[in-house]
């Protein structure tokens, strides 16, 4: 392998980092002088800096790709895009061209249908209420307790009599014309 990079030989452990900074020219003036003084006496460190000058440019060089690679890369990209387009679902292909008007149109139709349904439903409720309950206030119609009260009105009027006939002593003797405290839950 002709491009194989030879490994760096070790420098003094204490100086390794500073030597890298020295190589890149990023050490201060004093450190630089200290490095130079040290390298004048230390052969491995000098060799380390020389090796950095040999190895680092090789590491940072970009590999030159052959033209055939770029042709194949372009072809593969186009093929993948075609495949992705072919995978799109039928409804998406159908909807996308109409996206401009279909969504607002659908929304408008939905609102119109909803409005019609609500109006018809309302009319039905109102007519249901109106025919049989012309004189009954709405608060009675929506209160099941009051509806039950008016449904049972005849029994309530005869309640004491019914109890007497059954031989049960009424809980509290009341006459029809009695007045007193009463439940305010009805009417």
């Amino acid at each position: 392998m002709e491009n194989r990079i030879a490994p760096l030989e070790g420098a003094c452990k204490n100086y390794e980092e500073d030597l890298v900074l020295y190589y890149y020219g990023e050490s201060g003036t004093e450190e630089r002088s200290a490095m130079e003084r040290h390298m004048a006496q230390c052969m491995p460190c000098r060799k380390f800096v020389d090796d950095l000058g040999r190895v680092l440019p090789q590491m940072s060089s970009k590999p030159e790709m052959p033209q055939a690679f770029w042709h194949s890369y372009f072809r593969e990209t186009i093929e993948k895009l075609d495949e992705q387009e072919a995978r799109q679902s039928w409804w998406r292909r159908w909807f996308v061209p109409m996206n401009g008007w279909l969504v607002p149109a659908f929304g408008t139709v939905a609102v119109a249908v909803l409005a019609i349904v609500l109006v018809i439903e309302k009319r039905d409720v109102v007519s249901n209420i109106d025919t049989a309950s012309a004189n009954i206030p709405a608060e009675v119609l929506v209160d099941s307790n009051q509806l039950e009260f008016f449904k049972s009105l005849e029994i309530l009027e005869s309640l004491s009599t019914l109890e007497q006939q059954e031989g049960v002593k009424p809980e509290r003797k009341t006459s029809f014309n009695d007045s007193g405290r009463g439940a305010k839950a009805v009417a």
């Binding site: 209420i129 029994i155 309530l156 004491s160 019914l162 109890e163 014309n177 007045s179």
Partner: protein
């Protein structure tokens, strides 16, 4: 996006109002025409009653609601029998 959220909020509010109105009138709607007519007649009669009679009936209603279910059923049966005999 803001308009869409506002639109959805308005629609939800309208639906909520509508459904609550429908639910409220549901008890009345469930009644059959005979029951509705009976309630209407009784309400009209009630309206014409003097206040003390109304008060008495409210008390009777309270008492009726406090009764055990079996007693209520018996009295209701007796009332229906009487009415049947009268009719």
């Amino acid at each position: 996006m803001k308009t869409r959220k506002l639109f959805l909020a308005i629609i939800s509010f309208v639906l909520l109002l509508e459904s609550s109105a429908l639910a409220a009138s549901d008890d009345w709607r469930k009644l059959n025409p005979k029951e509705k007519d009976k309630i209407r007649r009784n309400y009209e009669r009630w309206e014409k009653l003097p206040p003390q009679d109304k008060e008495h009936l409210r008390e009777e209603w309270d008492r009726w609601n406090r009764m055990p279910q079996d007693q209520r059923d018996r009295l209701k049966q007796r009332f229906n029998d009487h009415r049947g005999n009268r009719d």
